[in-house]
Amino acid sequence: MATKMTGAQIIVEALKREGVDIVFGYPGGAVIDIYDELYRTPEIKHVLVRHEQGATHAADGLARSTGKVGVCLVTSGPGATNTVTGIATAYMDSIPIVVLTGQVPTKLIGNDAFQEVDITGITRPCTKHNFLVKRVEDLAWTLKAAFHIARTGRPGPVLVDLPKDIQQAKTEFQWPEEIKLRSYNPVYEPHKRQVEKAYRLLEASTRPVILVGGGVIASGAHEEVRELAELLHIPVTMTLMGLGGFPGTHEYSLGMLGMHGTYYANMAVANSDLIIAVGARFDDRVTGKVDAFAPMAKIVHIDIDPTSIQKNVRVDVPIVGDCKRALAKLLEIIKEVGRPSKLWKEQFKEWWEQIDIWKRRYPLTYKQDGEHIKPQFVIEKLYELTKGDAIVCTEVGQNQMWTAQFYKFDKPRTLLSSGGLGTMGYGFPAAIGAQMANPDKLVIDIAGDGSIQMNIQEMATAMDQRLPIKVIILNNGYLGMVRQWQELFYDRRYSAVQFSTIPDFVKLAEAYGAVGLRATKPDEVEGVLKKALETNNLVLVDIHIAPEEGVFPMVPAGRATTEMILV
């Protein structure tokens, strides 16, 4: 007979069996038993954060940079509610994390007990699924199911709420090696006939575009995308979440599309006669005014989540399945038919001529003024100095868009950014998660002076763990993206976008034992960045950029993507 284990022991054992070696968390009364168990478990590294939101973003950063499931552990009540933004961030971007929350003892649930909150109720709309464990006998199965649900199908966050008495109760440990849920069976294998239809559309097309979304990265389909593009000579554009899913330096890359996409990407999509969308969900930042989106194009949409298909735009050939498998099948058909690559090239020759005209007409660019540091210049320099070999996290706003435009991402899982929810304060804790999981890689957070202050407390966490993260603050003294909207659409009425107090980031870095650097003139940028990259410590680089620099091109919200405001 198996020996009995406490709930807390089962939880830690389950983490071990799921291959979890890092947990981000913050203790409290309702999880003290689990922490007691972790105390005896050196195989699992616990990273003590300074705020539970930081723990969820760090788990998310670990997940995005490795493809594994990120885990965080927090207490009941405020500990649990503090994770909500992080959970919603992961949910919108389909990132697999498991959030373990403590809960008051089962007999107190519903009594408004101290630090009680209905966290499964609160997170129901922003988790892929969640559980409240009410019997210790269900615990092992539930944890297994949580990891299974988080990582399979369209990945997402799963929360498991763990009442204190369940952590203390004892039962025999029975670990289900495999889990079957009758109500949850994601479809991986695409329908062959649908893929054949897609092929026929390609044959009939003269102006095709491949649209790469985050699903390409989630399913690891980047090589298939590349093979398809190269074999058929098709231009590739990416959503923010898709950056890195196809090499940004590739001659066939059009860069990002959408609100702050390149002129040529938006023009190509608008004039295309066929869009092969892979793991993208046609978010409003991508489509602009939906009625005017790619009016001449037939759309092939590959996605593992049927709800993404036909949600925002009408689709001609829906393909439900894993992006990697669907593309592999398409490539199989292409090779079977065996049309020479040269013929495809010929077929799209005029299309490429047109795209080259667009590229030459409005390349992605910015103006130097000799006096101010231009943020685009900083990103370009950073790209040059790192040779693109880094994991780059961003906050949200202008810093994020300049990064997406000017840093060229060649590999998947190298850009970590809150795309769907647009969470300011995401980047820095995500960088902590990424650096913990990738100790030998260079991890950078590109921030604004606004965003960095949203989770600045995590500097202490980074120092605890001796993480040499480079935080590049593009400091314009404004909440820049909102200011840009106010400038363009609200007659420059700058309402609540300027902080009266901004901390001295250099001193702040020093206060935490980190290194602070500053650049205020264009000719200081390179030196300061070099110094930061050479420093084996947490570095905050405060770069004073042109205060009213905007992100362009820009498609005003709700307008057609061809109506771009250029530089």
């Binding site: 409240l132 109500s183 049927p306 709800t307």
Partner: protein, 164 residues
């Protein structure tokens, strides 16, 4: 074009499953016209009949979104499945004073309603049938004075083929 759809949903009989479904409708701005839930022969599954309306793209989204919920086992759009039987029940407490008591009973007779509770001034009437019948009875009883009305919401079942 907006149309009414009756959805038949099998869902795990677990706490929170219903909240997930209802939350999906409110969170995404879908409509629930009526909702009826009860256990099935298999006590681990609940059956839900849900009446909603919307254009084709909305209905497609509703069905897909329901299927995406981990607890949802099966969704059938009964409206699209051909012929189906639909039933609803209502309890109507109608004023029945001296001069109208006979009139109420006559109405009940015509519509095959049952009187399930009697007081000196009211009858409580049970009526079963498709939605159109329930609505007809309500319309006809209204002038006599309806004091209280409770409806169950629709349940539906696909009709079997008439020939082998």
């Amino acid at each position: 074009m907006e149309r009414k759809h009756t959805l038949s949903v099998l869902v795990e009989n677990t706490p929170g499953a219903l909240a997930r479904i209802v939350g999906l409708f409110s969170g995404r701005g879908f409509n629930i016209d009526s909702l009826c839930v009860a256990e099935t022969l298999d006590p681990t599954l609940s059956h839900l009949t849900l009446v909603t309306h919307g254009d084709d793209m909305i209905i497609e989204q509703i069905i897909k979104q329901l299927r995406r919920l981990i607890d949802v086992y099966k969704v059938v759009d009964v409206t699209e499945e051909g012929e189906f039987v639909e039933r609803e029940m209502a309890l109507i407490k109608v004023r029945a004073e001296k001069e109208t008591r006979a009139e109420v009973l006559r109405m009940c007779d015509i519509f095959r309603c049952k009187v399930v509770d009697v007081s000196p001034r009211t009858y409580t009437v049970e009526v079963t049938g498709p939605e159109s019948k329930i609505e007809a009875v309500i319309e006809l009883l209204k002038p006599l004075g309806i004091k209280e009305l409770v409806r169950t919401g629709l349940i539906a079942m696909k009709r079997e083929k008439k020939s082998a």
